[in-house]
Symmetry: C2
Subunit: 120 residues, 2 copies
């Protein structure tokens, strides 16, 4: 892990500040524990390598963990730890901010997080 500075906000962004990480956290917050392929099916369509990468980063920082640490990977879901769960108010704040402040630029925005799309 590479930290750009000692600023807490910057450190948070060093971990979460990319196009996908917070969306994975969002899915785990909204749906609860979720398997690899359920996360893959999330509407925005993350690629398999990116998903695996981010899950392993989040695991290494103790923000996400396996539901059954010692059983085989198959159907073994991921879930948020306490630390990951603590992001809930931040994500909710972001969502509410977007509804108010981006609505003029994005007509179709929904009121709340929604359901998965079909996989190709």
């Amino acid at each position: 892990m590479k930290w750009r500075s000692a600023c807490p906000i910057c450190s948070a962004l060093d971990v979460l500040g990319d196009r996908w990480t917070m969306l994975i956290v969002r899915d785990l917050i909204v749906h609860g524990p979720r398997t690899y392929s359920e996360l893959l099916d999330s509407r925005e369509g993350i690629a398999t390598n990116i998903l695996a990468d981010r899950l392993s980063l989040l695991s290494s920082l103790m923000l996400v963990e396996r539901v059954n640490p010692d059983s085989p990977a198959r159907n073994n879901a991921f879930r948020l730890t306490k630390g990951g769960e603590a992001l809930r108010p931040v994500l909710e704040g972001l969502g509410k901010w977007a509804q108010v402040n981006l609505k003029n630029f994005h007509q179709d925005m929904l009121r709340m997080p929604d359901s998965p799309k079909k996989r190709k």
Copy 2:
């Protein structure tokens, strides 16, 4: 602007979910109005083209504006609009989250946002 989905959280991240945009917002929150080169001097060292890019994106979404809209660019600072200022609680939440949940991985993290570094 390209929106990945109708989810508000995802839309917020379509705008803010990269390594730099929220850091620019952070600087404007912490310091108030700030010129291009003051923003450049921010401790993390953003590149000139990225800074210009992000400022123009934030302007187009009405989150940032010029302090003197009609005067020449030189020494004409940027500041947050109401919509940009509304991100303050979100950023504060992120910072507090990082202080609690990343402290084991990043020993040197500070308590609060801090002062600029010297430019190279």
